[in-house]
Amino acid sequence: MLHVTNLTRLMIGPINLTIRDGECVALTGPSGTGKSVLLRAIADLDPNSGVVKTNDMQRETVSAPQWRKQVAMLPAESGWWQENVAAHFQTPDITRHHLPEVGLPIEAMGWEVARLSTGEKHRLALLRCLEANPQVLLLDEPTAALDQDTTLLIEALLKRQLASGTSILLVTHDTAQAKRMALRILHLEAGSLTEVTP
């Protein structure tokens, strides 16, 4: 579960939001309205105010690294700091067996980062995000750079995460995807959230 109360950051807020265990909530809204800002604030990557908690911890009572391992965020642009893909994973020997779940061969774990396409980087970044087995996933357009088949693969992976109890906040511009993945759809505009679930 993710529980957000009176979250304020720059031009957004106060935001109140609850996502239950195993629930996916889609977040839509025009570009530049602060969807990514909201995700970053929940992940505590930017200064913000408000109360954010999960089932068993309140954000301010744990260290930021500990919080981010449990409330994992996948940003729209994935970051890489080593030459080899495997060096970015905690347990590359285990995670490599999950590569086919995102449409990549097992050998991709040994690839150089420089040869990866944007879509490949994004899929690897998602797997990297899942390594710590987080309670909450904050996903910023996780399939924006992917074709239809791979998008469906990623959605299937996310549905398995939901089935295991993970809560997901999914930013997407794809209305069809929002309907496929989420029971509730929220719209962010002018700094505030409104529910637009059909």
Partner: protein, 270 residues
């Protein structure tokens, strides 16, 4: 000392002919450097004459307060240079304060220890020893600190996405910023490492050359040079470490966030 040969102003005039020759060549080849050469040479002459007169007065007055005043001026001026040599610098008082503070602590501290224990002048702050030594130590520390801070801030901006990716995966700020910090420290240390490696083989240091030309025994000149190089190396290393770690601390916060809004581009407020 023995064999000291006093130079006349005519000797200096003769030596300047080579520089005038460079200016003439620049004019002839349309390089457009003659004006810059002339201005730089004129500045050098005026600055050195003034500093010579100042040092002569200071050496004869032998006042600790005047010596301290000149030393403080040197530190503040060097701090201004550190500030000016960064493309991206910390906002507000930190922009000037961190680099200057790190350089002053390392440079002045090490010079103080050297003056009071190794040089053994009486009194220890004798300006004839204190000011040239401080100048050499500060000058090199200034270069190291400015290179380190410039490299650190540019790298942090360039690597923001990668750093935040690590923070999002649960890395703490010191782990996430380590590659950038390492590159910055390397940039800061490189000039002094190169200087130490090349000294005596590729080049004879200016101070040692000056001593030998003025009649000092080469082995004595070498001892002085080694002392100075050790002091410079120690001060540069300490200053670079303090400045770089201080800047990483300032550009992150206790919640392990990257705070690049605390940087500003140089030309915005230069």
């Amino acid at each position: 000392m023995s064999g000291y040969i006093s130079l006349t102003y005519f000797d200096l005039l003769l030596a300047s002919i080579f520089l005038i020759l460079n200016g003439t060549l620049s004019l002839w080849l349309h390089l457009g450097l003659e004006r810059k050469l002339a201005v730089a040479a004129a500045r050098m002459v005026v600055q050195l004459i003034l500093v010579g007169l100042l040092l002569k007065s200071l050496f004869s007055i032998l006042s600790p307060w005047l010596t301290l005043l000149v030393a403080a001026f040197m530190v503040l001026f060097a701090g201004r240079e550190i500030w000016a040599r960064q493309d991206y610098r910390l906002r507000g008082v930190w922009g000037y304060g961190l680099g200057t503070g790190a350089m002053a602590f390392a440079g002045a501290g090490i010079t103080l220890i050297a003056l009071s224990s190794m040089i053994g002048a009486d009194p220890w702050w004798t300006p004839r020893f204190a000011l040239p030594l401080l100048g050499m130590v500060l000058g090199n520390t200034m270069t190291g600190v400015s290179l380190a801070l410039d490299a650190l801030h540019s790298n942090l901006r360039r690597e923001r996405v990668a750093i935040e990716a690590q923070l999002l995966l649960g890395a703490d700020r010191w782990v996430a910023l380590r590659p950038c910090l390492r590159r910055a420290l390397r940039a800061g240390f490189m000039p002094i490492i190169n200087a130490m490696a090349a000294t005596g083989v590729v080049s004879l240091p200016g101070m040692m050359t000056g001593q030998i030309l003025s009649g000092v025994d080469p082995t004595e000149a070498v001892k002085y040079q080694l002392l100075v190089m050790f002091l410079i190396g120690g001060s540069t290393g300490l200053g670079v470490l303090l400045a770089a770690f201080g800047s990483v601390w300032r550009l992150t916060d206790e919640r392990h966030r990257l705070r690049l809004e605390r940087l500003t581009k140089a030309k915005d407020n230069a």
